[in-house]
């Protein structure tokens, strides 16, 4: 296989990975882009960082035949965004005569009733949609694509928080996937009030397993370094190439 074909295969793999992979930021590598400190509506006790107020995620969608004819993607303005909402095309139905749909995710402070199984560690986001001031319905439940909600946690500490949705009386857990180091995702088949909830008290930042990993890594590095050094010292000089006898 020549280089061109290999290149074609590699690019196809790359495109395939983008197509089938989760919605992630296009940061391939590097030291990692640092997030700005989490912006709370009301900071928890002990949070000393001075931050601006969190922002609202907003998207405006055109309506065609009563449905949103384009996917809605709304992200708040923090670095990285504290909330992202994705709603596929055809999922939202607007009242007759409406020309556009506005999707918003508005931050607020946690207030009672609070979850009984953990602690809210993020802002509380209320995801809504209106069409020229009127109500909007979710209708695309049979679509292959699902509405997605992503929220950034204040830290990437693990075990991380999980999504919970407030049903008007209680907070209910939702299936949660960690999609980036401190970003979590859930399928959001309806509007509502969402938050990230830490189920258990966060462990120490530098626990026993991490210490073991660190010691193990240093030991392996030292052994490998010694082996490389020995090999370098023992490396024989390059032998000249002798012409072949005819």
């Amino acid at each position: 296989m020549n280089v061109s074909r290999r290149a074609a295969v590699a690019v196809l793999l790359l495109v395939g990975a983008w197509v089938v992979g989760p919605t992630v930021m296009p940061l391939y590598d590097g030291p990692g882009a640092p997030d700005e400190p989490y912006r709370y509506v009301v900071a928890p006790p002990g949070y000393t960082k001075k931050t601006p107020a969190p922002t609202t995620a907003t998207a405006t969608l055109p309506v065609s035949n009563g449905l949103n004819n384009a996917a809605a993607f709304a992200a708040s303005a923090e670095v990285g965004p504290q909330v992202r909402v994705f709603i596929p095309a055809g999922w939202l139905r607007a009242p007759a005569g409406a020309t556009s749909i506005q999707v918003t995710a508005v931050p607020s402070a946690a207030k009672p009733p609070l979850p009984s199984d953990g602690t809210i560690v993020s802002d509380v986001y209320t995801v809504t949609a209106t069409a020229d001031g009127g109500p909007v319905e979710y209708v695309g439940k049979n679509s292959q694509e699902q509405p997605v909600l992503q929220m950034r946690a204040p830290t990437a500490q693990q075990p991380g928080p999980t999504f919970e949705q407030f049903d008007g009386k209680h907070w209910k857990p939702a299936e949660t996937t960690r999609v980036l180091q401190d970003v979590y995702q859930t399928f959001a088949p309806k509007f509502g009030v969402w938050a990230l909830v830490q189920q258990k008290p966060a462990g120490a930042a530098f626990g026993g397993v991490q210490l073991l990993l660190l010691v193990l890594g240093i030991v392996i590095l030292a052994v490998v370094g010694i082996i490389l050094l020995v090999r370098l010292v023992r490396r024989p000089p390059p032998q000249p190439v002798r012409p072949k006898k005819r």
Partner: protein, 193 residues
């Protein structure tokens, strides 16, 4: 042919040894980084880059810079960035004020990763097996090294990125071309986060 013959006789570090070195560097970096959310420090990544650079220097790998190498690097950059522009749904630049420090660290870490993976590891695997296996091993190592920081979901994308960088290595004959592409793609990523 002569230089190739000499290269083939040159003792090379074993592939398992190189990968063990790499895994250890990744483990140390992951632990030192700690929770990588807000305010995650850059210095563990710099330590990681220095370790890899030392590893690549100790083993040795061909380093060449030419117009062709730069051109291959540029083409590979386009190959990495265009799919991201097409498929990524997020469009927001990080603050410019933080860019210089981050870019300086990236300009150390990305080439160090390439010198190690597409340099030392690629050479060792290609000599023992073939260029295709070398591309695959270096790509898989590249994908796996991101798992501690980004999670398993990052493995397919980063492995595919590693494959593109591996082909750039093959096309140019040196790790410098993938280093150019890797660094440039990272830089573009700052403005697309």
């Amino acid at each position: 042919m002569t230089s190739l013959a000499v290269e083939r006789r040159r003792p090379v570090a074993g592939v398992p040894l190189l990968l063990a070195f790499f895994a250890a560097a990744v483990a140390v970096r992951s632990v030192l980084t700690g929770p990588p959310g807000a305010g995650a420090p850059l210095w563990p990544a710099v330590v990681f880059g220095v370790l890899l650079a030392l590893g690549a220097l100790a083993v040795g790998t061909p380093t060449r810079v030419s117009a062709r190498v730069v051109a291959v690097g540029a083409v590979a950059t386009v190959a990495l960035v265009v799919p991201a522009l097409v498929f990524a749904s997020v469009r927001a630049s990080l603050p410019l004020s933080s860019f210089p420090v981050w870019m300086a660290a990236t300009a150390l870490v990305a080439p160090a990763e390439e010198a190690f993976l597409r340099g030392a590891v690629y050479d060792a695997v290609a000599r023992r097996w073939s260029a295709d296996v070398a591309i695959g091993v270096a790509a898989l190592a590249f994908g796996l090294m991101h798992v501690p920081l980004y999670g398993w979901h990052a493995l397919p994308l980063d492995t595919a990125v590693g494959a593109v960088l591996g082909v750039a290595r093959l096309a140019s004959g040196t790790w410098v071309a993938p280093a150019i592409a890797h660094t440039a793609a990272d830089a573009v990523g700052w403005f697309m986060l």
